[in-house]
Symmetry: C2
Subunit: 302 residues, 2 copies
């Protein structure tokens, strides 16, 4: 099961970090991007530049970071050429041994959810990932096709529970009849959906997205969902610090992975004279981040 | 504004129907599909068959049906070639004068929602549609980038409120602190988000998805959201009848559009000997459906 692979890979590298390839054109250094322009259409040039940027980062961070999270939106906005770039990025990440999450936040009625699942975590998915993020708004029959594929293929899903954005509380924190926030009810169901898909490492293939920007809620969810693995977005550019993450891990420092995108892939921007060293800048930031998280987890785990 | 174009086009054709191009390979008649195989890769053959099927339906239903709803999932599952097919389908539908909805149910944090909006309803969207369906789970900052684009481009969104699937009640009907279902709170916010984007025909560019399979809730939402235009999925194959739709329209028989996919594009399957006449079968079913809805609306409007 890919959830076991994820847990073990994090443990081996001592690094619960996912490299977020949310690659906008504006993130690719100008000089680097320029060399891809002029060959083919502007769209093809942009997609080629993004792919080369991603591939450089994947090569440079291999062995340091165990997991990659690829944000579908940035590839869709580049058109069909962007989707080729998405496909190549996913393929390259898997070839290098990363555990790969496609952050697509899909959710639809049953028949359509089946098609989405086939696209990303099915047996012959054209955009193959180990995990996909899923939106629970439509309820169980919109999630079941993904879970069915998880059962068959050993892949997994991360269901949105409490997201990292500023207005995530607007609906997610709305008090239900019993006084508990809405996301809590979603959390209960996520735990239930995953009950029969627990791997050897004690975590289910049905995982949850929990924003690192809400540390109190995260810690509370950690206590209530002991068998659910968390993806924690919001670290770095979105404002969450390493300290905010601690409560989302279990007592052995496992059970969660921190997504970091801009802070890694745009690390070179802090030293603008050296844009060509974007891989080195990302490596340095990845190692700094790893040490920072490790220290906090060590303090917590004791 | 495209919402005005939608309302007027429905009125001109006296037909509040959206052709749902949820085109699975299994929906394309075998003989028709076969002629596209063998030229290029299997993926390219499948995508070419789907596009040709869509284009035939678009040509055959032009002037009868005012609007097309294209379900993104079925194109994503065909890989990058499917995304070319999606692009060509959207282009062809717009060229023929249809109002075009991309049913993608996207929703993400602000920066990412911006990218999704750019992909589908931005100024130079690679997959250009007049409207996109949006998932509200992340709250306002996940929807605002779409609304900003609506303001600038005159396009629109359909926000999920109460979906048509069997388990839509699992979260959407959960009672909030005030006893009202969760989707009701979403509905309030959708109306608010759209307040400054009302067109000449009295409806806002910020529209709502309301499942035709829940007629009581639909009628209640119609009363509470007089300025919100509804997309009604669930008619036909999903089980809703014309009678179920009536309460979702306003007093003049306007304010909503019924999505029908399988019942139209697979109409030929009721007469298996005549698969080559899939366009004619769809036309006949479209006219039957139009008459059926017209009758119900006439009875209601009086």
């Amino acid at each position: 099961m890919r959830i076991d692979a994820l847990v073990r890979s994090i443990r081996d590298m001592k690094n619960p970090t996912a490299l977020g390839l949310d690659t906008r054109m504006g993130y690719v250094p100008d000089d680097f991007a320029r060399s891809f322009m002029g060959c083919g259409s502007p769209e093809a040039g942009r997609a080629a530049a993004v792919y080369a940027f991603n591939a450089s980062l994947l090569a440079g961070l291999n062995g340091i970071i165990p997991c990659v999270k690829v944000q579908a939106a940035y590839y869709e906005m580049l058109g069909p050429e962007g989707m080729v770039c998405l496909q190549k990025t996913l393929d390259e990440a898997r070839r290098l041994g990363y555990v790969v999450i496609i952050d697509a936040k899909r959710g639809d009625i049953g028949a359509t959810a089946e098609a989405y699942s086939a696209a990303y975590i099915g047996d012959s998915a054209p955009f193959p990932a180990d995990f996909i993020t899923v939106n629970p708004y439509l309820g169980y029959d919109g999630v079941k096709p993904f879970i069915d594929d998880c059962e068959r293929t050993g892949r997994g899903i991360f269901t949105l529970v409490k997201t990292s954005n500023p207005s995530s509380g607007e609906f997610q924190d709305l008090a239900a009849f019993d006084g508990r926030p809405f996301y809590d009810h979603v959390a209960d169901r996520v735990a239930e959906w995953g009950r029969n898909l627990v791997g050897e490492e004690g975590y289910s293939s049905v995982c949850a997205v929990v924003g690192a920007t809400y540390p109190v809620q995260g810690a509370e969810l950690r206590r209530r969902l002991p068998g659910t693995f968390f993806l924690l977005p919001g670290y770095g550019a979105q404002g969450a610090s390493a300290k905010d993450l601690a409560g989302c891990f279990d007592k052995s420092g496992c059970g969660a992975i921190v997504a970091a995108s801009r802070s890694l892939i745009c690390a070179y921007k802090k030293n603008p004279g050296h844009a060509s060293n974007f891989v080195e800048a990302a490596r340095n930031e990845a190692l700094r981040m790893k040490a920072e998280i490790f220290k906090v987890l060590h303090d917590v785990v004791g």
